[in-house]
């Protein structure tokens, strides 16, 4: 991370240390901000501006239907978020606090749903609950996001000092009372952070709503898609995009407020000290966690079974078809090649997001002005909450202004994926950097270390493991990213989730089983990546939010 060296100034200048520090932070912030502006803010604002240019935005905002849409979008997202948090807490407790065998496997299983293509999850929940079921939409959205809660909350929980809780118990508090009055308040920053991220994912969920909601339920996201892609009603789409942005900023503000109270102020313990074998009421929590796990596994098992089911009973036709491009050449490349494309693009996206997110996290951790921190933090999170179709169509109208045909370049795919995972890298790395005692840095500086040396000797070693976690989880999200990627892939650079959606939207039994076999392959690749990351984490100890 040589960018840090820009912070260095010739020694013996008259510039004060605080000015130097401020200049250094601004320089560091420029890289992620420039990326954000070029590949996110500019395209999004350009397409919204185009809507305004045509007029009629205010008419759209004045319609009662528009506000019903806002209400439904926020309502279903809030319900799904609440459900994901409730379902995630027992699993977080088990993975963080109980010394039970198979915790590593549990963490892997919980994370895997995250990468499944939304259309496939939509179909699975639609098969289970029927068409146009509101409950199915909420359940499916929650299904995707339980992983975020388990990882975010579990990460912090495993490091919470257990003694405060024990003291409360010794003083006569019931288990429940000790949980609500001691543990829960301490978990608040992680809960706030998880809830905000889950809310963003649910509020902008597209495939699930389209497939399960059918013709009946619509959200801001599906309506923006419809108006942009089918109707070419740019003013309508612009109005809805603005509402979506406003909702996202509000959700982020709530999440930030929950985090600010506690982040960095906790006395954290090694997780080895905080786990115990289950006793008494733990078994109830274990049972609840088991029930949630079963709920998470049902759709996964359904996908695997479907990949093996042919008209003549069970068979491996779908898996044999993976080396081909589907019946009648649906894909120009084989499914296996699409998987390799996915891995390549996700690797690039991860590297890019680590650089961008890492820089942003360093700046956020070291900036002392709360206003600036909040602004930068919110800006970096925005790509999670804006419609992929808005970004995709925005690219059409802006990127031609860039040199050498960047609009058509295959590097755009990792670029948009990096936009989506950078916010998560920040959420994982930032709390660790904030938990570093500044006196350590001061001590290192007093001993003669320059800013780079301080960073290498203090910040990097302490955050290295959270960087591994962030890279692993970011990679997984990039593997599963569909919305923005589908706008930019070319036939020969197609990724696995896009290939799956193409296969499943064609008639023919072979295409259907091949699509489900490809899903199974995606699940396996993901499980392997998560397992490797877990391995690296196991011997270490880290406070990350994922």
């Amino acid at each position: 991370m040589s960018r840090v060296s820009r912070e260095r100034r010739p020694t013996g200048t008259s510039v004060s240390a605080s000015t130097r520090r401020r200049v250094g932070l601004v320089v560091l912030a420029v890289v992620p901000l420039a990326f954000l502006v070029l590949f996110f803010a500019w395209p999004v604002l350009a397409i919204i501006a185009r809507g305004f240019g045509e007029g009629g935005v205010s008419d759209m905002l004045a319609r009662a239907q528009t506000w019903q849409l806002v209400g439904f979008t926020l309502g279903q997202a809030a319900a799904a978020t609440a459900l994901a948090v409730l379902a995630g807490l027992p699993l977080a407790y088990v993975t963080a606090r109980l010394a039970v065998p198979g915790r590593g496997l549990l963490r892997v299983l919980v994370t895997v749903p995250f990468v499944l293509p939304t259309v496939v999850v939509g179909l699975a929940f639609r098969a289970l609950f029927g068409d146009g079921s509101l409950a199915a939409i909420v359940l499916a959205n929650a299904f995707f996001n339980v992983a975020v809660v388990v990882r975010t909350v579990g990460g912090l929980w495993s490091h919470l000092d257990r003694r405060a809780e024990d003291a409360a118990r010794a003083l006569g508090a019931s288990r429940w009372r000790a949980f609500t009055s001691v543990t829960l308040p301490a978990l608040r920053p992680a809960l706030g952070s998880a809830a905000a991220v889950v809310f963003l994912f649910c509020a902008t969920s597209f495939g699930v709503v389209l497939v399960i909601g059918g013709a009946r339920y619509r959200t801001l996201e599906t309506e923006i898609y419809l108006r942009t892609v089918n109707l070419l009603d740019l003013p309508g789409a612009a109005a809805l995009s603005l509402l979506q942005l406003a909702a996202v900023v509000a959700a982020l503000a709530v999440g930030a407020a929950a985090r600010r109270r506690r982040e960095g102020a906790l006395a954290l313990r090694s997780s080895a000290e905080t786990t115990r074998p289950p006793t008494g009421g733990d078994w109830v929590v274990l049972a609840a966690a088991g029930a949630v796990l079963v709920g998470l596994l049902v759709p996964l098992v359904a996908v695997v079974l479907r990949s093996l089911t042919t008209s003549s009973g069970f068979g491996l036709d779908g898996y044999r078809a993976l080396t081909g491009g589907g019946e009648g050449g649906v894909l120009r490349i084989s499914v296996v090649e699409a998987a390799l494309n996915s891995v390549r693009a996700a690797a690039d996206a991860t590297v890019l997001a680590m650089v961008l997110g890492g820089l942003a996290a360093v700046v956020l951790a070291r900036t002392r002005r709360a206003g600036a921190t909040q602004l930068l933090d919110t800006l970096m999170m925005l790509p999670l909450g804006v419609s992929a179709v808005t970004v995709g169509f925005g690219y059409l109208v802006t990127l031609s202004a860039l040199p050498s045909g960047l609009r058509d370049s295959p590097v755009l795919v990792p670029f948009v994926q990096a936009l989506v995972i950078t916010p998560l890298v920040i959420r994982i790395v930032l709390p660790v950097l904030r938990s570093v005692d500044d006196r350590l840095r001061q001590a290192a500086a007093t001993l003669g270390a320059g800013p780079v040396r301080v960073w290498l000797a203090v910040d990097l070693p302490m955050s290295a493991r959270s960087l591994v976690t962030a890279a692993g989880f970011g990679f997984v999200i990039a593997l599963g990213e569909f919305g923005a990627t589908s706008f930019l892939v070319r036939p020969e650079t197609m990724t696995l989730p896009v290939a799956i959606s193409r296969l499943i939207s064609r008639p023919g039994e072979l295409n259907a089983v091949a699509a489900y076999a490809a899903c199974t392959m995606l699940l396996v690749v993901t499980a392997l990546v998560v397992a490797v990351v877990e391995r690296i984490r196991v011997r270490s100890d880290t406070v990350g939010e994922f």
Partner: protein, 367 residues
């Protein structure tokens, strides 16, 4: 041992320091390795200056015989760079949005439903292929030379043959049968707002029942238990009983060509398209206005109308070539016969009324 619990650990022992350095080195190595299998290193083909590269913009469903395209590239010296962008609607809108700085040189896949919008927005420049008179001219839109018809497909009701063979209910033959209580809860269609076959089926009913009668027709369908899905995938692969999804409903809106993809072990299709319920959709190609390679772009349009390309359309895209003088595969003719009389509405009428019809349909059917 935890770096977080005892931050002083960062300075504690030499062993720790080594381990931490090892971790840092590991991170850097990991970054290096992943960058190695990168798309950036994969080398992109942006050398459009020296080779004669022509960008063909099309939809996701575009597929073709690679040998035919390779032969064209060899003979013409043109390097065909194919970019896919969503369905016909998304493709059309992409072309409209990027009109001032086109995303390609030639486009294929704007269909009759969206042709009116493409023409009104001036996306294409006029070009009449010398091969157009062998069939393409029959499908001209509003006497314009901007769009050249390449293939014809039909959206029709598909039925599950086995289901009807085993049931007392006879297979339906036309749209009006569906109002009969005998077909209650048997039909699944797509929302015309979100699905292009759904829209084509709505247009079929408008063409069939007339500008005045279609609302009554749909009221009847609604009262007879029609199910509406958001997209083709849910309707066909999940709700339809004739596909691999084995759903509950034996009648679905799909394509005339779909049965060709559902050939069972005995060599006959499990499903059948009802040829009296079809709506014809024509797919067009055209030279994009503002291209700096108009000559080569025209050569691509000619290629799309050439005998070899037209002959492989049925097998690769499940559509009929516009040229009547090319041979169709035998199996295809049996599984997907061309409807003799499919209905269609003029492009300008569709363009002028589409949004209104769809919104009325939503109020009527979904309430």
């Amino acid at each position: 041992m935890s770096g977080v619990t005892s931050p002083a650990g960062a300075f504690s022992t030499r062993a720790d320091r080594f381990r931490q350095r090892g971790l840092a080195v590991g991170l850097v190595t990991a970054v290096g390795l992943t960058a190695g299998c990168s798309v950036v290193g994969g080398g992109s083909d942006d050398g459009s200056d020296d080779s004669r590269s022509v960008v063909l913009v099309t939809h996701d469903s575009f597929s073709y015989d690679e040998e035919v395209v390779a032969a064209f590239e060899r003979e013409s010296g043109i390097d065909l760079d194919i970019r896919q962008s969503g369905d016909a609607g998304e493709l059309t809108n992409s072309l409209v949005l990027s009109r001032d700085n086109p995303i390609g040189d030639v486009a294929f896949g704007v269909d009759s439903t969206f042709a009116g919008r493409a023409l009104a927005e001036g996306v294409f420049e006029d070009y009449r292929s010398p091969r157009a008179e062998r069939g393409a001219d029959d499908y001209r839109v509003a006497d314009s030379d901007a769009l050249t018809a390449i293939d014809v497909g039909d959206v029709c009701l598909n039925i599950d043959r086995e289901w009807f063979a085993e049931s007392d209910v006879p297979a339906p033959t036309g749209l009006d049968d569906l109002l009969d209580p005998a077909y209650r809860d048997l039909l699944v269609v797509q929302d015309p707002a979100t699905s292009s076959p759904g829209l084509a089926f709505l247009l079929a009913t408008i063409a069939h029942a007339g500008e005045d009668g279609w609302r009554d027709y749909w009221t009847g369908l609604r009262d007879n238990g029609v199910r509406v899905t958001g997209g083709w995938t849910e309707a066909y692969t999940q709700d339809f009983s004739g596909s691999s999804g084995n759903g509950p409903r034996p009648i679905v809106v799909s394509y005339a060509s779909s049965p060709a993809a559902e050939i069972g072990a005995d060599g006959t299709p499990r499903t059948e398209a009802l040829l009296d319920t079809c709506y014809q959709q024509v797919e067009y190609a055209g030279v994009l206005a503002g291209t700096d390679r108009p000559e080569d772009a025209r050569a691509v349009v000619d290629f799309l109308l050439s005998e070899p390309f037209q002959a492989q359309l049925a097998e690769y895209m499940y559509v009929y070539p516009v040229r009547a003088d090319v041979e169709l595969p035998e199996a295809w003719r049996e599984a997907a016969p061309l409807p003799e009389e499919s209905v269609t509405l003029p492009a300008d009428e569709v363009e002028g009324n589409r949004d209104e019809w769809v919104s009325e349909w939503r109020d009527l059917v979904l309430g």
